[in-house]
């Protein structure tokens, strides 16, 4: 009989997928960090979309494989804990909220966690909200100490913050990431049907 709550197998699966998603995300973030110099910050707009596109299939597999409530929340909390180790304890709260949003997408009980479309939609919403984490980091640092660099005046930094926290910029990042992760989920679902469902590794509801 399937257990209702997360067991050791589920917890280990979530932890391993979280580490892999984190590795891919941080490697690509470094690339986009360098590209943002060359594109005057333009790369920041699409970085969330590209990272989400590539990590959405892993996220989808994790959710469908575990298939129980709490998987998205635990994944999100783990992300927050890893940020805590990097010196951002505030991010645990951000990720707890993002995790709750992801779980809320699966809220009507039933076959949500086994349903490809529902999981894909939850994945897109979750990754889109998660993509706003650089804004959260900037907001935290900007509010604490905005004058660490001699080349910038307080007014220039305030202007920079205004550009980043402009509703259009934030909205654009959200929409682009949503599109990226929706395409990633679609591609991921195709991969899962072709390689994992056929071989019996994964059971899903269409």
């Amino acid at each position: 009989m399937r257990k209702k709550f997360l067991g050791i197998r589920d917890v280990v699966t979530i932890a391993i997928f979280t580490a892999a998603i984190m590795m891919i995300g941080s490697a690509l973030s470094k690339v986009f960090g360098v590209l943002s110099f060359l594109t005057a910050g333009g790369a920041i707009l699409v970085s969330g979309a590209v990272i989400s596109f590539l990590t959405a299939p892993l996220f989808l597999l994790m959710v469908l494989k575990v298939g129980k409530h709490g998987a998205i929340f635990l994944h999100s909390i783990l992300y927050g804990f890893i940020f805590l180790l990097a010196g951002l304890p505030h991010m645990v709260i951000f990720y707890a909220l993002v995790g709750l949003i992801g779980e809320a997408m699966m809220m009507p009980r039933g076959s949500g966690y086994r349903h490809v479309f529902r999981s894909g939609l939850a994945c897109s919403v979750f990754l889109s909200v998660k993509s706003l984490h650089p804004a959260a980091i900037l907001w935290i640092i900007g509010n604490y100490n905005p004058q660490g660099v001699h080349g910038y005046t307080a007014a220039q930094i305030a202007k920079m913050m205004d550009i980043y926290f402009n509703p259009i910029t934030v909205g654009l990042i959200f929409v682009l990431t949503f599109v990226g992760s929706a395409i990633g989920s679609f591609a991921g679902a195709r991969l899962l049907r072709r390689h994992f469902v056929k071989s019996g590794i994964l059971q899903i509801n269409e």
Binding site: V12, A19, A20, M23, I77, G87
Partner: protein
């Protein structure tokens, strides 16, 4: 070379949390003080190979900051701005590295002593241990892809992106599932699902070194908060 200090993992976690809060609101001088203290703490705890990299990042920041203020060139100013954000986190990253190097069993025993839920303890320990392994897996998959001529930046890669996407992700997914099965079997064999309290060969107890580190941390916190 002297042996690393033996600290209770709870002390290490406490250092990460306190340093994480202290870096916010600190001036560059205060950040330097924090960095010096955590560098010494890292050195005493065995973080010796990566210490020069942290120092190099710090030097890069000072260099770009100097050129930014002298030339006002946008490239140096941007570099200084971004490296400042990295420098902000150096003390916490150093403290975090000390914690990450703690053996998984010792970390789990320490977190159990804090009565944290088993789900969180297992997940946290596994993901911390798995981060470097995930990097190795991704690199080895890319190596095989290169041998088969479907690497990310090869001709095939540009002409058939879907094939590269599939060739990269499917082996990774299979490998992750396989590792999770192996780790689960190992955890269950070690009694991870047992309903009783977990015992450990590691002695989880505060020693003289722990009290000394906590005292120094309290002094540092007091000095930095008074100076603000």
């Amino acid at each position: 070379m002297s042996k690393p200090l033996i600290l209770d993992p709870r002390t290490k976690l406490g250092v990460v949390l306190v340093i994480g809060f202290l870096i916010f609101g600190s001036t560059v001088t205060q950040l330097l003080l924090l960095f010096s203290v955590t560098a010494l703490y890292g050195f005493l705890n065995g973080v010796r190979r990566s210490l020069p990299i942290y120092v190099l990042i710090l030097l890069l920041y000072f260099l770009s900051d100097y050129f930014a203020s002298e030339t006002r060139n946008i490239l140096f100013v941007s570099l200084a701005f971004f490296s400042y954000f990295i420098v902000c986190f150096l003390p916490a990253l150093l403290a975090g590295e000390v914690l990450v190097r703690t053996p998984a069993g010792q970390l789990m025993s320490a977190l159990t002593a804090w009565h944290l839920p088993k789900t969180i303890i297992v997940a946290f320990s596994v993901s911390l241990r798995f981060v470097p392994i995930a990097g190795m897996e991704i690199r080895s998959i890319h190596e095989v892809m290169k041998q088969r001529g479907v690497a990310f930046f090869s001709r095939t890669g540009w002409l058939h992106p879907w094939r590269v996407f599939e060739c990269a992700l499917v082996p990774l997914m299979i490998r992750l599932l396989k590792i999770s099965d192996e780790l689960t079997a190992s955890a269950i064999t070690r009694g991870a699902e047992a309903p009783i309290r977990r015992t450990s060969v590691h002695e989880i107890k505060f020693h003289f070194c722990d009290y000394a580190v906590i005292l120094l941390l309290l002094i540092l916190t007091f000095v930095l908060l008074v100076r603000r």
